[in-house]
């Protein structure tokens, strides 16, 4: 199953690409240019056009899926789902352990937001009296859809910078 998806992915990619290209009315030489863009040596760089194609592909494949701006780089033009999804196909849920690799541990996050929460006279979202530090990142922070605050089930506040 996984393998099929893996093989299909480039096909979708290509289909989306062709659609984009024809929609934009770009000359047929564009595809080869794109092929260069996704060449392995440049994989780590961020390419706005590749990202646009990826977004389109994702929309076709998965419906209205968003990607957080600050994750564009991490996402590496859509060839690195495993950075969050653990080497599985992107239909498997993301693993928190992967968030921690870049963002630091739960305690690090708690320290990061402590000051601002205090300034705004709100509880520290990463260290609460109900859950301690134990709420997995993806409970509130959603990548491909609107994030939702767990606290909001009962409480009316929100955090300005929450995304």
């Amino acid at each position: 199953m996984k393998r099929i998806i893996r093989y299909l992915t480039p096909l979708f990619f290509l289909a989306a690409l062709v659609t984009t290209v024809s929609a934009l009315g770009v000359s047929p030489s564009a595809p080869s240019q794109a092929a260069e863009e996704s060449a392995p040596k440049e994989e780590l760089a961020y390419h706005p056009s590749a990202q646009a194609r990826l977004n389109m592909w994702m929309q076709q494949k998965l419906g209205e899926r968003t990607l957080k701006k600050y994750h564009y780089k991490v996402h590496q033009n859509g060839v690195s789902c495993e950075l969050c999804h653990n080497g599985q196909n992107p239909t498997a849920p993301a693993d928190d352990a992967n968030c921690i690799r870049c963002h630091g541990s739960a305690s690090d996050m708690a320290k990061l937001t402590e000051e601002r929460a205090k300034e705004n006279d709100l509880p520290n979202p990463h260290l609460t009296k109900h859950f301690g530090e134990d709420v997995p990142c993806t409970t509130c922070h959603k990548e491909h859809k609107k994030s939702e605050l767990l606290c909001a089930n009962c409480h009316k506040y929100t955090y300005e910078k929450f995304q």
């Binding site: 849920p93 009296k129 109900h130 859950f131 709420v135 993806t138 089930n153 009962c154 409480h155």
Partner: protein, 525 residues
């Protein structure tokens, strides 16, 4: 909750052909339950052939379902008894209702009561709980619970739980016996217990949902089918795995006040117009899994509604503390149409909620009652709660009673007359209108006035499975324990009868959770 998880589960698309087969078997099992076949045939794993087809993915001495008070306490005791332990939690976060709970814990004969010279006894606590429960409580369980509170309290201290230095007297309790955690949150208890259990070596697994219980040919618990990688509330998410159990399965899956399909089936009026204070995962499938192996249900349609909740916020929120520590003892609650009180604001929960639910217009739409007090009446409300309730518009402040009446659409003159009558009652120390105990000389006189709109929310499920005093679940056909099946906490029915007394659930969950953990952990396979 929009969707009912159980009904969707039947249509689960499958990850593999093997799972497809298993799911079909699960459906067959469910169908059998529908016609009340004998216990053996209840679980698909119970018949010889089906049991043989289960290939176990993992094996544990003790599996605990649910990571609230009951599950966490059970995990510690089962580890102490030498069992290897896994705690399954279907939600991404741990703690269930226990995490969002208010941290009020009734203890008979606590150290602090002794220090403060408060006379209490196990029998007094039993009598109080029986009175609230309308005499329908299972007294054998009640006795074990009340007797166990003092040591359960010490147990929490051992794991670093911190309480205020005072003992509170909650409505319906004849003496002050409620211990209050420092931050007014059940998280103050359940987080340290989880850390303690982890330190002892218990393994906590989130996003893992119990699907069904598998029995062997003798009808004893042999294992469970779970959904790993479950993404609540998507019943198609994750994969089915089978865990074999050597000693015992402890069901601590909590209440089901958020299970709309279940709730409405039992009591049609508890529909969408009535919210719940519970966390979103408070649904009934854990209870159902036990019914599917012939567990005896008790009081399964008995729900408690919280009379102190507000329609102007979701879930539990700030209203309960605001009203319980403020407007109810030191103010009044009026029918917005008449300006008159309609119930003893300190009566037990059922009396108050039932009275509130009657306040409806000709179309049956709720007419929210309004609670009122002065600043003096807010003295016992924790500062953070009071501030937040006002800041987020759940409570409001008015410079005059006229402004309050106008904003809430209450006829002014009748309201003023009501306030005058109430002030007289405070002066006298006796409430002749509704018999509310007058605790302090706090009058409704000086502005500013504070108010809140109220509407009951489903708060607690008194119903659940029948257990004995060893926390073993009883088979409804034989009356004997289902070997290897234990249950504790809100998913158990009986201890609270028809109406639970405030702060007695923590007591129940911790005491029975510990007993279940000890007995499952030391059971010889």
């Amino acid at each position: 909750m929009k969707r009912d998880p159980r009904r969707k589960a039947a249509n689960t698309p499958t990850k593999s052909r093997r799972d497809a087969l298993k799911n079909m078997m699960a459906m067959a099992g469910a169908a059998v339950v529908g016609v009340a076949a004998p216990a053996r045939a209840m679980s698909p794993g119970a018949s010889g052939s089906a049991s043989g087809s289960v290939s176990w993915d993992r094996e544990f001495d003790v599996v605990i379902v649910g990571s609230g008070f009951a599950g966490s306490a059970a995990a510690i005791e089962a580890r102490r008894a030498g069992a290897d332990v896994i705690v399954l939690e279907k939600m991404p976060y741990f703690g269930g209702n226990s995490a969002i709970n208010g941290g009020a814990f009734a203890v008979a004969n606590s150290r602090l009561q002794a220090t403060l010279g408060i006379k209490d006894s196990v029998d007094t606590m039993i009598a109080d709980m029986l009175k609230a429960g309308r005499g329908t409580n299972h007294v054998d369980l009640l006795r074990v619970i009340c007797e166990g509170t003092a040591s359960a309290y010490e147990f929490t201290l051992e794991y670093g739980v911190k309480y205020l230095d005072k003992v509170l007297q909650f409505g319906g309790h004849s003496v002050p016996r409620t211990m209050q955690t420092r931050n007014y949150s059940g998280g103050d208890i359940v987080v340290p217990l989880r850390q303690g259990a982890k330190k002892l070596g218990a393994f906590f697994k989130n996003k893992c949902k119990l699907e069904r219980i598998v029995l062997n040919v003798q009808g004893d618990v042999e294992g469970v089918a779970v959904r790993e990688g479950y993404a609540f509330p998507d019943e198609n998410s994750g994969v089915i795995r089978h865990y074999r159990i050597r000693r015992g399965l402890i069901m601590c899956s909590g209440g089901f006040s958020r299970d709309l399909f279940y709730r409405k089936s039992q009591i049609p009026t508890l529909d969408e117009s009535v919210d719940s204070t519970n966390h979103l995962g408070a649904t009934a499938e854990g209870f159902h899994a036990m019914l599917a192996v012939n567990a005896m249900p008790v009081n399964s349609s008995s729900f408690q509604l919280g009379p102190w909740a507000s329609p102007d916020e979701g879930g539990f929120g700030y209203a309960p503390q605001f009203n319980q520590q403020g407007t109810f003892p030191y103010g009044i609650m009026v029918d917005a149409r008449t300006g008159k009180r309609f119930v003893n604001e300190m009566a037990d929960r059922k009396t108050r909620a039932d009275a509130e639910l009657k306040l409806r217009d000709a179309q049956g739409k709720p007419v929210y009652p309004v609670t009122i007090c002065t600043t003096a009446g807010t003295k016992d409300i924790p500062d953070t709660t009071l501030k937040a309730a006002l800041r987020f518009g759940v409570a409001r402040k008015y410079e005059s009673i006229e402004a309050l009446a106008e904003h809430n659409n209450i006829p002014l003159e009748p309201l003023k007359e009501q306030i005058a009558r109430y002030n007289k009652a405070v002066e006298k120390g006796v409430d002749e209108e509704f018999g509310k105990p007058i605790r302090a000389k706090i009058f409704l006189d000086k502005p500013p006035f504070l108010s809140m709109r109220c509407w009951p929310k489903v708060h607690f499920a008194q119903g659940g499975v029948r257990i004995n005093t060893r926390a073993e679940v009883l088979n409804m056909s034989t009356g004997k324990p289902i070997a290897g099946l234990f249950a504790a906490g809100e998913v158990v029915g009986g201890p609270h009868g028809e109406s639970r007394l405030g702060s007695c659930s923590i007591a129940d969950c911790l005491v029975m959770g510990r007993i279940a953990g000890r007995n499952a952990g030391s059971r010889s396979a």
